[in-house]
């Protein structure tokens, strides 16, 4: 098994570029020079302005401060220390309860990103999320927050949960103090709580109903990016509910329950423009997990289609996000999706459904590996193993740890199970690749002859042919059978007739796009007034 797979906090999943001098373990507040009660002037100004903007519902300004000022201040003054404690800044914001919860959320996120959180801090962060979501669920929140912030909240919630599962599954080197702590706070980040909070946000926000009504034209949601420009009602619960659907997909993937994960995402129609596309992080996370779930469900063509779209999108637009704190994460997911695409195409080769630019990138990165995977020798399995390990989500063991001797590290158990089952599936498809290469050479061939070429007996040949048919036809969630292979056949008594699906040139779509583009240009030119 790949030994390079390491679940260490932060090293594989950092959101922000970690300064190399950051501590590896231990408390973030261990620096002697850090005084949690000291509030520099710049922080004072920051919280006062942010508080005012939130009260005035000035979403644009909030976004500027959240994305811009917070990062700049963190870079300048808090590279190795946490921000001032919430108690210290509370007096400057009228001790507003909700603002303090928001500030604490950002505080913990900073610790996770730049420092290494202690067990104590992890548990306190859980408490903070409970309080924050509790407030939102009781419907007493009236503010409007930028979508980026709301997405980050849900994303971070799931990330910290995943990180905690890793943390508490590594028992070997824990001190007695840490073990005692785990025993005492055994309810923190428990799986029921995490799932139920996400579920509650989805239910209480009625987001599924809203999306349904929008399809019938009875509601404005996507058109206003989820905000309420006229009425000014809060978008917080609605958007948290929306993003929680993606959160649920993610958590279910971490558990290995791909079917239910896709069900949770079902109310969002990813073939259409949607609110999930507004924040690039949410767009990428949605498609990554959607594609991965489809890969595990053997719906290869669906996975390939979606990976193709998102990789093209990232290629076009990543330059605009270079300065953003999510840039590293975007690049990481980009690489992982290329690996998943390589796996999908090796298991289920396709003609012509991938964009030219994506193919070029893919060949650049994985041409050699894909050739190896298609050969299906021993080396092939190593490559499948390597790519899967690199690209898969960080699976977790959801049950509570057994805190008695012998203390072992079991944080890799979940991943090992998923990898094993994946490689098992790959093994079952072993003969299909060579069958496919033979089928490409003939338009009709007798079973006997083909069996001779493939060096198997006739009975085995029939078995391989039927296995090919079964593996290359996936079952959609509504029970329909969907063909995936580009080379197909049918058998009449003893003769195999090969059917190759012609690569289809989609002229219609192309013309449509150009028509709309030119219309746009013409109307823009019309608007230009020449004096």
């Amino acid at each position: 098994m790949a030994s390079s797979y390491d679940y260490d906090d932060g090293s594989l999943d950092t959101r922000y570029a970690r300064p190399p001098s950051s501590g590896q373990g231990g408390g973030g507040a261990a620096e002697l020079s850090y005084d949690p009660n000291f509030v520099p002037d710049s922080v004072k100004t920051f919280v006062v302005h942010l508080y005012r903007h939130i009260r005035e519902k000035n979403v644009y300004e909030i976004h500027q401060m959240y994305e811009g000022s917070f990062q700049r201040l963190s870079d300048r003054m808090f590279r190795e220390n946490p921000w001032p404690s919430v108690e210290a800044i509370a007096p400057y914001v009228d001790n507003d309860h909700v603002f303090c919860l928001l500030y604490r959320e950002m505080w913990f996120r900073h610790v996770y990103a730049r420092l290494a959180p202690t067990g104590q801090q992890r548990v306190e962060s859980w408490d903070n999320y409970c309080s924050l979501f509790g407030v939102v669920l009781h419907g007493v929140v009236s503010m409007q927050l930028p979508n980026q912030w709301l997405w980050d909240m849900v994303d971070e919630f799931v990330y910290q949960f995943q990180s905690y599962c890793q943390y508490r599954a590594k028992l070997k080197n824990k001190t007695e103090e840490e073990l005692q702590f785990l025993r005492q706070y055994d309810q923190a980040w428990n799986i029921y709580g995490v799932l139920n909070y996400l579920q509650a946000l989805v239910e209480k926000s009625s987001i599924v109903d809203i999306l349904e009504r929008e399809k019938e034209g009875l509601e404005q949601f996507t058109a206003t990016d989820g905000y309420d420009y006229e009425g000014g009602t809060s978008n917080v619960l609605k958007m948290l509910g929306y993003y929680s659907m993606i959160g649920l997909l993610r958590v279910h993937c971490l558990l290995g329950d791909y079917h239910t994960g896709l069900k949770c995402l079902a109310p969002i129609d990813i073939s259409q423009q949607g609110v999930y596309m507004i924040v690039i992080g949410s767009h990428i996370s949605t498609i990554y997990h959607y594609g991965f779930a489809n890969l595990m469900l053997r719906r290869y063509v669906e996975a390939i289609r979606e990976f193709n779209k998102i990789l093209l999108y990232i290629l076009k637009y990543k330059q605009y996000h270079q300065k953003s704190p999510q840039y590293d994460q975007i690049l990481k997911k980009n690489e992982q999706m290329y690996a998943l695409l390589a796996i999908c195409l090796s298991l289920c080769p396709q003609n012509n459904i991938i964009e030219e630019n994506v193919i070029i990138q893919l060949r650049d990165k994985y041409n050699e590996k894909m050739t190896k995977m298609l050969r299906y020798d021993d080396e092939a399995y190593t490559v499948y193993d390597e790519l899967f390990t690199y690209a898969c989500p960080k699976f977790i063991t959801s049950s509570a740890p057994v805190l008695e001797e012998p203390l072992i590290n079991y944080n890799q158990d979940a991943y090992r199970l998923q990898l094993k089952l994946f490689l098992y599936e790959v093994k079952q498809q072993q003969s299909l690749s060579s069958l496919r290469s033979f089928l490409k050479l003939y338009s009709a061939i007798s079973i006997g002859k083909l069996a001779a070429y493939m060096e198997v007996d006739e009975s085995t040949m029939r078995t391989i042919l039927m296995a090919y048919k079964h593996k290359m036809h996936s079952v959609a969630s509504d029970g329909k059978i969907i063909p995936n292979a580009d080379i197909d056949f049918y058998i009449s008594e003893d003769i195999i007739h090969v059917v190759e699906s012609k690569p289809s040139k989609l002229y219609g779509d192309y013309f449509l796009r150009q028509i709309l583009k030119f219309e746009e240009m013409i109307s823009e030119l019309d608007r230009v007034k020449l004096d």
Binding site: Q187, L421, T463, G479
Partner: protein, 285 residues
Amino acid sequence: MAKCWHLLLSNSWLLGFDRAMGREPQQVSYTVEQLVSVNPYNPDILTELENYVNEQVSSQTYSLDANLCLLRLYQFDPTRLSIAIVVRILIKALMAMPAPDFSLCLFLIPEPVQADEQIKTLIVLSHYLETARFRQFWDEAAKNHSLLEVVPANVDGYIANHLGLVSIKEELNNVEMTVIQLSYGHFSGAGFEQAIQAYAIHVLSLSYQKVPRPVLAETINIEGLSLDKFIEYHVANSGWVLEKGTGRSQLIVLPRNEFNHPGLKKNSSDGMPFEHITRIFPVLS
């Protein structure tokens, strides 16, 4: 700890949930399917889900969502895992082929549990079915007859309730045995066999326009007179046609579908969904 969390985890979860949602607590009884869609992450429904599995087995119904929900709960709390129930879930999943339900269930079952002998057998059976090795499958299935018949816990009571045969049971031993075997076949084992045969025919329909009789026989594990009856039934009801093949062998012509007849393949190459065309209506007008 945050108070909200305790609220969520109270024993009367649904009451707590209703309160958290701002609704008046209701003493409504929820069906299992409703529980799974409304309140799946709740350890209190575990027993109900287990009962539902047994109900699925005896009434020949199936619910993937409910079974996945139960496997998840087992994962959250391994002390409550019941191997017998897991075995039943896996057997039902096998019967759902060609859907990938069996793999979906395996993804959720921890490795130590998968080392159980019964589950290992089921994994082998699934492997044979996935790779279309039907002959090996039927051989292995025959060796594991007892596992696949999913014997209900209280056999006598089961027979008594369903067949009213308690009085006969006590008399001649031979008669009793025959009766029991028939009821197994009728209520549980046969359901499994038929489901796998349906899957076998599905794969044959994907692959063959005309399938030789011996191939059909091996795939569905029926021979001789029973096979004749079987073919007769499908000729009358499923559009099968008998033909003479080369060397006086019998050929079964399967109904045409888009998978075994290239001409019927839906030509989606240049078809466009209507919604896309509507985009240029403003331009055309």
